[in-house]
């Protein structure tokens, strides 16, 4: 009895210390999530009480051509930016892992752009991509390209421009890859050398399997980040030209805060959550085949 009493007191003491976090979690995370789910089934303008409408918001989205347009745009962006971004980051990390002079300078140069605030970077790239005066087209002119792309003014090139710009911020991903690469035991490379492995063989059979958990981590983070792209196109293109860079989160924002269709905005948020969940689950399921954990 005394023991139960003291265990209960220990539990209550623990809960008391946890309570600030618990209160915050309930008040600012769990309750808003639950309300968001409820509002996704309502017509809610923020200014009046929500009006329950069942699946009306989801049906509206299913029949909305702009909804499918933004899903398409976001998918295209993710398919372009994610694999190329990961490959570029991995390549940069492998180069930065080489034992050469000035290694710390090169690492700093690669990482610095990811420290630039998003809005500042967007304004910078807005001018770099300027079709008439931008440095990129000036350089292309100098190289003999008579009609360089219109970049952000051309519906065919606006998306590739944003993908190119996304490589500017690979610093964080490079750092994580670098940490993984430095964990690869040197003995494995030495053993591979003895067996006559080429550089490609060493990368394919030693490096990649060993850093596969890191690749998996960056893949999941990349899926979430690319599907939630918002700030850069919001500043640079506002979804144009002709909705060619109008992404899912931008349409969600417009629905919620411009058109005051909070119910629709919440429904879009839950659809996005389900998409990210499914893709993450798929990645996790596939990881059984290609991710190798040390000691497993």
């Amino acid at each position: 009895m005394v023991r139960i009493h003291s265990e209960a007191r220990a539990f209550l003491r623990g809960m008391a210390f946890l309570s600030p976090w618990l209160i915050g979690f309930f008040a600012f995370t769990l309750v808003p999530i639950a309300l968001s789910l409820y509002y996704s089934f309502c017509d809610f303008t923020l200014l009046q009480p929500p009006l329950f409408k069942g699946l009306a918001n989801y049906r509206y989205l299913a029949n909305d051509p702009i909804f499918w347009k933004v899903i398409g745009n976001t998918a295209i962006y993710a398919v372009m930016a994610l694999p190329f971004g990961l490959l570029t980051a991995l390549g940069a990390a492998m180069l930065l892992n080489l034992k050469i002079g000035g290694q710390s300078i090169y690492r700093t140069i690669i990482f610095l752009p990811s420290l630039v605030p998003t809005a500042a970077a967007a304004m910078l790239w807005l001018w770099l991509f300027n079709a008439k005066l931008g440095l990129i087209n000036v350089a292309l002119h100098a190289l003999g390209f008579v009609n360089p792309p219109g970049w952000l003014t051309d519906a065919r090139w606006a998306m590739p421009a944003l993908v190119l710009m996304s490589f500017w911020g690979i610093g964080n991903t490079v750092i994580i890859f670098l940490a993984g690469l430095q964990d690869v035991p040197r003995e494995l490379y030495e053993a591979a050398n003895i067996d006559g492995a080429t550089t490609f063989d060493r990368i394919w059979h030693v490096t990649l399997p060993f850093i596969s958990p890191v690749i998996f981590f960056n893949l999941i983070i990349g899926i979430i980040a690319t599907l939630q792209i918002f700030a850069v196109p919001y500043i640079m293109t506002q979804g144009g030209p002709a909705r060619s860079t109008y992404f899912y989160t931008m349409y969600l924002y417009d629905n919620a805060f411009s058109y005051l269709k909070m119910g629709c905005g919440n429904a879009m948020a839950w659809v996005q959550f389900l998409i990210v969940l499914v893709l993450t689950a798929l990645a996790a399921w596939s990881s059984k085949r290609w991710v190798h954990y040390e000691g497993a």
Partner: protein, 462 residues
């Protein structure tokens, strides 16, 4: 025994930490304090406004005038706060039960906010202050209403005309005369505008545009109302139906697209991408890379502030219409002062709004903002001393029967976004005017009908 260096370093570190703590304490005790010195025995009216820079400075003078006169007598103090995203912040604050007392909105926010019951109707307060339709130019009185209710009063107003660079007209008089055009006047019809533009264009053999006489989408802010000059309208206030397929509307967008067809879609897009920001000396009209531009009354102040060397080198004229019989057509726009629902001090807030709408204060603000007065009665001094030398023309236009207000559609943000996307597709030659307008008519009518049905269910429709 620690060496002298080690002891010195230890002492230095202690002194440094001590100095930093002392500096932090001094900053806390004696440092700057936020907040205005507010009078203690007054009702504080919070006024949120979108303006910054010169426009903010102008409005602050009006606020100071109020606080030192009517406000002092009635124990009301207006506290001005400049904020971006005024529409969203006002709505979110209203939803949270903590709105400002006065919100400086755009006129196009009124239908949406009014439909959502986000604003206090001002009819009774206006009547008590003797404010009525008689005192205003009809177009601006209409702008402040939605569904028969007054939801705001004007703070500043403007309308549109055609600005042209008379120096460029003079320098290229030969080319203009060769095309049978008079370099000493503005174009008088849309067809003439196109001819002037063509004669003034400078295009390389590759198609690259170096200079344009006129580009319909520069700045493109008013593209959705181009139909006014083509005798069309995309909203029928009687039937509450969109009329995007109105022949005047179709003609307007065909005209906009004709420039992309003639000059090349990518060439126009690349040319426009080289324009600097509106409020900069690299503005297309100021650079100059265009000879003519559709702009508001306030543009004269921007020209004077950003490129004073252009003073006296430009002229403002009536923007020409497609049918010369459609005279003095213009689009009128304004900023409004409104009282959000659940504002703490609506009566005191209206005292300030009524003060801004007094003839003397309204003309003072209009002068500071280089805009017209929305009031029917104008003092002769206002027109004589205004910073825009063509203020009389702009004022007459706003009083004309063909002065067109913003359409009172409660889903205007969606309409604007659809029109913007459509206009971009149009200029890139991705869609014809007929098929694009047909598509957005169907889509927007459905959205409007759904919105009104929801409002009926909420008993918000009278």
């Amino acid at each position: 025994m620690p060496s002298f260096l080690t002891r010195s370093l230890f002492v230095f570190r202690k002194l440094l930490v001590g100095a930093m703590i002392a500096a932090a304490v001094a900053l806390l005790v004696f440092g700057p304090r936020a907040g205005d010195k507010l009078p203690k025995d007054c009702v504080i009216v919070d006024y949120w406004e979108k303006w910054t820079g010169d426009e903010e400075a102008g409005m602050r003078q009006i606020v100071d005038d109020f606080n030192s006169t009517v406000g002092r007598d009635k124990h009301i103090f207006v506290r001005y706060l400049s904020t971006s995203g005024i529409e969203q912040k006002t709505l979110v604050a209203a939803a949270a039960g903590a709105p400002p007392d006065v919100a400086g909105l755009y006129n196009q926010d009124l239908p949406q906010f009014g439909a959502l019951d986000a604003l206090e109707p001002l009819d009774e307060m206006a009547a008590r202050h003797g404010i009525s339709a008689r005192q205003y130019k009809k177009v601006y009185w209409d702008e402040c209403h939605y569904d028969g209710r007054l939801y705001g009063l004007v703070s500043s107003a403007y309308d549109l005309g055609l600005y042209y660079n008379k120096t460029i007209f003079r320098d290229r008089a030969g080319a203009l005369r060769a095309a049978g055009l008079d370099p000493d006047r503005a174009p008088r019809s849309i067809q003439e505008l196109d001819q002037y533009a063509k004669a003034l264009n400078e295009i390389e053999p590759s198609g690259r545009i170096n200079f344009a006489g006129y580009i319909p989408l520069e700045p493109g802010w008013y593209a959705g109302y181009t139909c006014i000059w083509f005798g069309g309208s995309w909203w029928n206030e009687t039937t509450h139906k969109f009329t995007f397929t109105d022949p005047g509307v179709v003609r307007a967008y065909e005209w906009i697209q004709s420039y992309s067809k003639r000059l090349g879609a990518q060439q126009v897009a690349q040319f426009q991408s080289g324009f600097g920001a509106f409020a900069s000396p690299q503005n297309a009209f100021l650079a100059p890379t265009v000879a003519m531009e559709q702009q508001g009354t306030f543009f004269a102040q921007f020209i004077h502030n950003l490129k004073p060397s252009m003073d006296g080198q430009w002229v403002a004229a009536v923007f020409p219409s497609f049918d010369p019989k459609l005279k003095d057509a213009t689009y009128c726009n304004c900023d409004v002062l409104a009282i959000p629902r659940r504002a703490k001090h609506p009566e005191e807030a209206f005292e300030f709004i009524a003060f801004v709408n007094r003839q003397d204060e309204m003309e003072k603000l209009a002068n500071l903002h280089c805009k017209i007065s929305p009031l029917a009665k104008i003092s002769p001094g206002f027109l004589r001393h205004h910073s825009n030398p063509y203020i009389r023309m702009f004022d007459d236009l706003a009083a004309s029967p063909n002065a067109h207000p913003t359409e009172p559609v409660p889903i205007l943000p969606e309409v604007n976004d659809e029109l913007l996307a459509f206009t971009q597709q149009l200029s890139l030659l991705q869609v014809t005017p007929e098929e694009g307008l047909e598509r957005i008519q169907v889509r927007l009518q459905q959205k409007y009908d759904e919105f009104m049905e929801d409002q009926r269910q909420r008993h918000l429709i009278r």
